[in-house]
């Protein structure tokens, strides 16, 4: 008989309804029943607490051995600061720098780190690279961190089962992996379900063609131009425009040829004469040239821009008989004030799309594209150039925009990814210095809002080697909070990267 159980039952029902059980070891039987029950229960409670034996439990299988060493103590301390919210935006940079040096996150910080990845998908690849095998081992034990198990070694993404039965995201992940490993097989796999996939699925899947795009994809993309889904058609046309030797490229080249030709006026240099198409037809629509341009320009100008932006760039050397650098400097016969801009913008978009450094260089040097709304295309052209050249050219462009943090500069730099080094860093520092000298205007948008904005852009992108220079500017203008913050961030990043350098 379970003595404790009897006492508990009696206590639940009440000693008015049920007699107090006997307890030979118990206290003297004096007092009222309720008191006696409590006294006996106290005895049993203490006996049980004091007599508690050790239990049995199954140990958790240990984590696999690691190959990568843990980061040093200063880096580990800094990671804790970042995870604690101090300069939290620098977490991806910390992780990438650690992974580059072949180091991994200290295990004690893994729980907070994996929690961050739960909320922020963009962080996950960086986490997977720096979390080590311990990270994956830990993630297997917590459903909230399961994303790392999939990202860790790509096992899940590689499983063909995911393609057949997975969710839209899992299927896209499988296709992305396949696209990187074997683009042709990815096309073959996609064909197996293409006819029955929904339009949003098809849009997502076709987006994976961005990677490993080649002539082998042409047939599939050409067919996709007749897809039921508008977004699918748009993506297919944009992808084909990156394949100059395709049938699409040839169709576009034929249209382009009728648009531009050379005229030789008397006693004047060779000039480009522009004839935008007179009509829009079904074939143009099929190739991704909409009737109404997205921009608020005339329909014919809109068609012209689209055709030039999609035609293979090599045809111009052949039609106009010059190098890209010469072509972009040729005068354009003005039908109206915007014609030259339409032509140059079309070429610039083609140069960005076809990633053609020679055209990008030519357009940047010729300085033909400077104006409020076209500033972003300049950033696009800069990003086509190799890193060192990009920084030099960017500095030149900034010099043309003018001194100080203007809105145009913010727009331009907003589209130029970090790290900003060399001449570009110098130009940004000059702009900061110029901006800091302008007295603040009471709460109105103006140079100071732009300075704040520039500081915000610079804090993750500007090379941390510039920390001393920015520090100097910040100390000359102690009242400018944005500058002080920027100087702090740069110092923080410089120390962080030093700690993590192998």
């Amino acid at each position: 008989v379970n003595t404790w159980g009897e006492h508990l039952t009696t206590a639940l029902l009440g000693t008015r309804r049920r007699a107090v059980p006997d307890l030979p070891e118990g206290a003297s039987g004096g007092g009222d029943p309720a008191g006696r029950l409590l006294d006996q229960a106290a005895f049993l409670t203490l006996r049980r607490r004091a007599g508690r034996p050790g239990g049995r439990a199954e140990p958790i299988a240990p984590a696999p051995a690691e190959t990568a060493p843990i980061v040093g103590p200063p880096a580990a301390r800094r990671l804790r600061q970042i995870l604690g919210g101090e300069h939290g935006r620098l977490l991806p940079e910390w992780l990438e720098a650690a992974a580059r040096s072949g180091l991994r996150v200290p295990p004690r910080s893994l729980p907070e780190l994996l929690d961050k990845g739960r909320a922020d998908r963009a962080l996950r690849p960086a986490i997977a690279r720096a979390a080590g095998r311990r990270g994956v081992w830990l993630a297997m034990r917590n459903i909230d961190w399961a994303y790392l198990v999939a990202a860790g070694d790509g096992d899940a993404a590689q499983d063909p089962e995911h393609w057949e039965t997975g969710t839209r995201i899992q299927r896209a992940a499988h296709l992305t992996w396949l696209r990187a490993a074997d683009p042709a097989r990815a096309v073959a796999t996609l064909r197996t379900t293409w006819a029955t996939d929904s339009a949003p699925d098809r849009t997502l899947f076709l987006g994976t063609f961005e990677k490993g795009l080649s002539a082998g994809d042409e047939e599939f993309l050409e067919a996709a131009l007749d897809d039921r889904g508008q977004d699918v058609r748009r993506i297919a046309a944009d992808l084909l425009a990156r394949l100059p030797n395709s049938a699409y490229g040839r169709r576009m080249a034929d249209r382009a040829r009728t648009c531009l030709r050379i005229v030789r006026p008397d006693a004047a240099p060779d000039t480009i004469d522009v004839h935008p198409p007179d009509d829009h037809d079904e074939a143009m629509r099929r190739d991704g040239i909409p009737f109404h341009a997205v921009e608020r320009i005339g329909t014919r100008a809109g068609w012209l821009r689209e055709i030039l932006a999609r035609a293979p760039l090599p045809i111009w050397a052949e039609i106009l008989g010059r190098t890209p650098a010469e072509i972009v400097r040729m005068p354009v016969a003005d039908h109206d004030a915007r014609t030259a801009l339409d032509v140059h913008l079309g070429w610039a978009r083609a140069a960005v799309r076809q990633r053609d450094p020679e055209w990008a260089r030519g357009l940047l040097n010729a300085d033909v594209l400077l104006g409020g709304s076209e500033i972003e295309i300049l950033a696009g052209l800069l990003n086509v150039l190799p890193a060192g050249e990009r920084d030099r050219e960017a500095a030149t462009v900034i010099g043309r925009i003018g001194n100080g943090p203007r809105p145009e500069l913010i727009t331009l730099l907003g589209s130029v990814p970090g790290p900003w080094a060399g001449a570009l860093a110098g130009a940004v520092i000059a702009a900061l210095s110029a901006g800091a000298r302008v007295p603040p205007s009471q709460g109105l948008p103006g140079p100071h809002t732009d300075l704040t904005e520039l500081c915000r852009l610079a804090d993750e992108r500007l090379s941390p080697a510039t920390a001393p220079q920015v520090d100097e500017i910040a100390q000359e203008h102690p009242g400018t909070r944005a500058l002080t913050d920027l100087a702090r961030t740069l110092r923080f990043r410089r120390d962080m990267l030093t700690e993590l350098s192998a």
Binding site: A34, E58, P62
Partner: protein
């Protein structure tokens, strides 16, 4: 008396047993001293080495001059043993941003070792004299004490009757009972100046909502309370240490001066961890210690209103050479740090096995049956599971359950391998607070 090598002669008997490495505090710990968020923000702005000159640190103090907005620099000093602060700035905040900023750059490693300047040494000496000066408090009126005694007796009688009523009528109704049922009697116990009893009763109100096991736990708690009321009524028959234990559980407090005048135990105390809890507008910090030579356990309590900084002088994972003064009782546990003999060191603690812990706890219960928490350090334990609950299992395959949520950090650090874990043991399981790992050293959980 605070012993500090910068002001007193180095008369430490065994200070050289430790490497004299200055143990810097972590950033979080420093910012934890800030009285509010804006102080912490302001401190970060001051925490730039460029703003500071003539900085230095030794085992028990950090100092430096901070360039303020005016011409002259502020003199800032921190006595690390308490910690205590001094600054010549006019701020009313305590600690001021300069003191915190100084600690931040020290924490970052930007302050070198040095010898304290005269102004700092003077302040430290003054502080020491102040600590040494005995505080004279007016003697308590014997009549007041007598009146209190009678009130508490009344409260104890009332509680005893209430407990018996609960049992006579049956506990089954407790499941649906409103909190007021416990709050009413708790309030009457507060009025009767039996704060210890009131706290125990209040804590019971949540038991019926905490799972199927509630009847067992409620009966256990009621029966131990009844044991306490009985013991209090018969206190004259009890040996003095046990009588002191009973009276402290009922709510009688002992003045700290009396405690300091009592028995002291000098040891190297491992700080197993600290826990903050809030009740009735007061935050209580429990810091668990374990003497590394004597093996004695100790609990240091500190209190503060919510949002105010608590005593941060005992940092988890450190080992301090100090003399502790215990509150009287049959199982001495609560203590105050009476005297420190050197700076904290970092080294792995001595622990025991699961069986060792359970035996020690049983012995402690035999001296104080109302004991509900106990410091534990277990050697060579691995994380394990049984019945969906986390456990620690030792080298002899004996396991104890863990309290609280899955200890992710402990799992991450151990990687499923053996570590030394310290925490707070109670009948509901072990709450892990700190761990020692062979490679990673101390990990605060």
């Amino acid at each position: 008396v605070l012993w500090c090598p910068t002001v007193a002669a180095r008369l430490s008997v065994d200070a050289d047993r430790f490497a004299h490495v200055i143990e810097r505090w972590g950033r979080e710990q420093v910012l934890g001293l800030a009285s509010d968020v804006s102080s912490a923000d302001a401190a970060e702005k001051v925490a730039r080495p460029a703003k500071w000159s003539a900085t230095g640190a030794d085992e028990c103090a950090v100092w430096g001059l901070c360039q303020g907005s005016g011409k002259s620099a502020y003199r800032t000093g921190v006595d690390l043993s308490e910690p205590a602060f001094t600054c010549s700035c006019p701020s009313r905040k305590f600690p001021c941003k300069h003191a915190l900023g100084l600690l931040l750059i020290w924490s970052d490693g930007a302050v070198g070792e040095g010898t304290p300047p005269a102004w700092l040494a003077e302040w430290l000496v003054k502080r020491q004299q102040r600590v040494e000066r005995p505080r004279t408090e007016p003697a308590r009126d014997p009549k007041t004490a007598e009146r209190r005694e009678q009130r508490v007796e009344g409260g104890v009688e009332e509680l005893d009757q209430w407990l018996r009523d609960q049992i006579a009528n049956g506990l089954a109704s407790a499941e649906k009972a409103p909190y007021e049922m416990w709050d009413d009697i708790a309030r009457r116990l507060v009025d009767a100046q039996a704060g210890g009893l009131a706290g125990r009763v209040k804590a019971m109100a949540s038991i019926p909502a905490e799972g199927d096991d509630w009847p067992r736990r409620l009966l256990e708690e009621y029966s131990l309370l009844r044991l306490l009321t009985t013991a209090f009524r018969r206190q004259e028959e009890l040996p003095e240490p046990l009588r002191a234990t009973v009276r402290s559980h009922v709510g009688f407090t002992v003045r700290q001066e009396e405690v300091l005048n009592g028995e002291r135990v000098r040891d190297h105390w491992y700080i197993a961890g600290s826990l903050d809890s809030e009740q009735d507008g007061l935050t209580t910090r429990r810091v668990w210690l374990r003497g590394q030579e004597t093996g004695r356990p100790a609990l240091v309590l500190s209190f503060a209103p919510p949002g105010r900084p608590l005593d941060a002088s005992l940092v988890a994972g450190g080992t301090i050479d100090a003399s502790l003064a215990y509150y009287p009782g049959s199982q001495p546990l609560r203590a105050v740090v009476a005297e420190r003999h050197g700076a904290p060191a970092h080294r792995p603690p001595c622990g025991t096995t699961v069986e060792g812990l359970l035996r020690e706890h049983a012995e402690a219960l035999s001296r104080d049956p109302w004991l509900d928490r106990w410091p534990a350090t277990l050697n060579h334990v691995r994380l394990a599971t049984a019945g969906g609950r986390s456990h620690l299992v030792d080298a002899e395959d004996a396991a104890v359950p863990l309290r609280g949520q899955t200890p992710w950090r402990l799992l991450a650090v151990s990687g499923g391998r053996a570590v030394t874990v310290s925490g707070e043991w109670s009948t509901r399981g072990l709450l892990p607070l700190s761990a020692w790992h062979d490679e990673e050293g101390l990990v605060v959980l």
